[in-house]
């Protein structure tokens, strides 16, 4: 436990901005009725188990990687965001970051 239990050290609520984003996105989709929380927990648990087979998860970044993977698969399955739709939009965001001058707001065209 020594490597995973840090006692008395204040931790940020979310270690990375994308952890907060993917968390909020999932809670929002639940609140708007896209899926029941129990259904989400069951799928997420399955992903965690699969990831945990190959290595011990520390509950940090790996936890949210599993979370994101679960949400992507869920939205691909229910048609909310198909894998084929996600890939070009992700590439477009990457290009937008790489072509936007430092300090300027990054936005997608169109």
């Amino acid at each position: 436990m020594n490597d995973c239990v840090t006692i008395g050290v204040p931790e940020p609520v979310f270690a990375e901005p994308w952890h907060a984003q993917v968390f909020a996105l999932t809670v929002h989709l639940n609140e708007t009725g896209r899926f029941a929380w129990g259904e989400w927990a069951e799928r997420f648990s399955t992903t965690l188990k699969r990831h945990g087979l190959s290595r011990e998860l520390d509950g940090g970044d790996d936890y949210f990687h599993a979370w994101l993977e679960t949400l992507e698969a869920f939205l691909d399955e229910d048609g909310g965001a198909l894998k084929d739709e996600v890939s070009p939009i992700k590439d477009a965001w990457e290009k937008a970051y790489l072509t936007t001058p430092h300090g300027a707001p990054v936005a997608l065209d169109g």
């Binding site: 006692i7 907060a20 929380w37 989400w40 939205l75 909310g80 965001a81 430092h102």
Partner: protein, 207 residues
């Protein structure tokens, strides 16, 4: 000299977020374009969880239960209703159950499924609560886990581990420390640590 692409002092372009961040942005973009999400609601949720809810909510509930026997009885009877009446945020339809520590029984909470947790009272769980190590060991060897947290229980105290689910989320009501007679609810709440409401700590003794 030409600046390095990721030299922080002189970026030629905006700093590229890590791959998962771009994947989340892509999901958000698609869902927003389809009208399935409201980006403002996401910001509101993040603000809520980062700034407005957290273990202070749970500590207030525990302190009040220590100070007010009627409130304590109601909390143990139907925590979901009491927490809703207090106006604490929670919309996942979770059923909240409060389990009380006694000299005979110490309670400890885990979620072996994933990381189910009483968000309205404790906020987002700490990393260790989500780790495989805690999730596996809390059930198998709770006393050793407690020892890792620096908690040693008297011989005669049993340990009961409660496994949270998406539907039922547990909160531990710790025992009120000795020497706290006459303290205000605010002063009592300061003694309640987050981990004491998960069962991996005991409240601070007033100095």
């Amino acid at each position: 000299m030409r600046p390095m692409p990721h030299d922080h002092s002189d970026h030629p372009h905006a700093l590229l977020p890590p791959d998962p961040a771009l994947r989340v942005k892509a999901l958000e973009t698609i869902l927003t374009r389809k009208g399935l999400i409201d980006p403002a609601a996401l910001d509101e949720l993040i603000d809520t969880y980062e700034n407005r809810i957290g273990p202070k909510n749970g500590a207030r509930v525990v302190a009040r239960a220590w100070a007010d026997p009627m409130f304590r009885a109601a909390l143990l009877e139907d925590a979901t209703r009491v927490v809703a009446d207090l106006g604490f945020y929670g919309r996942q339809g979770e059923h909240m159950v409060v389990v009380e520590n006694t000299p005979q029984q110490h309670n400890m909470v885990v979620c072996t499924l994933c990381s189910c947790y009483p968000w309205p009272l404790l906020g987002i769980p700490p990393g260790w609560y989500k780790s495989d190590a805690y999730r596996a060991r809390a059930v198998r060897e709770p006393r050793k886990v407690l020892a890792d947290f620096g908690v040693t229980l008297p011989e005669g105290t049993s340990v009961r581990v409660w496994d949270s689910t998406a539907e039922v989320r547990y909160l531990v009501l710790p025992m009120r420390p000795e020497g706290t007679d006459g303290l205000s609810e605010d002063a009592l709440a300061d003694l309640v640590t987050r981990d004491s409401m998960i069962g991996t700590d005991i409240p601070k003794v007033p100095s």
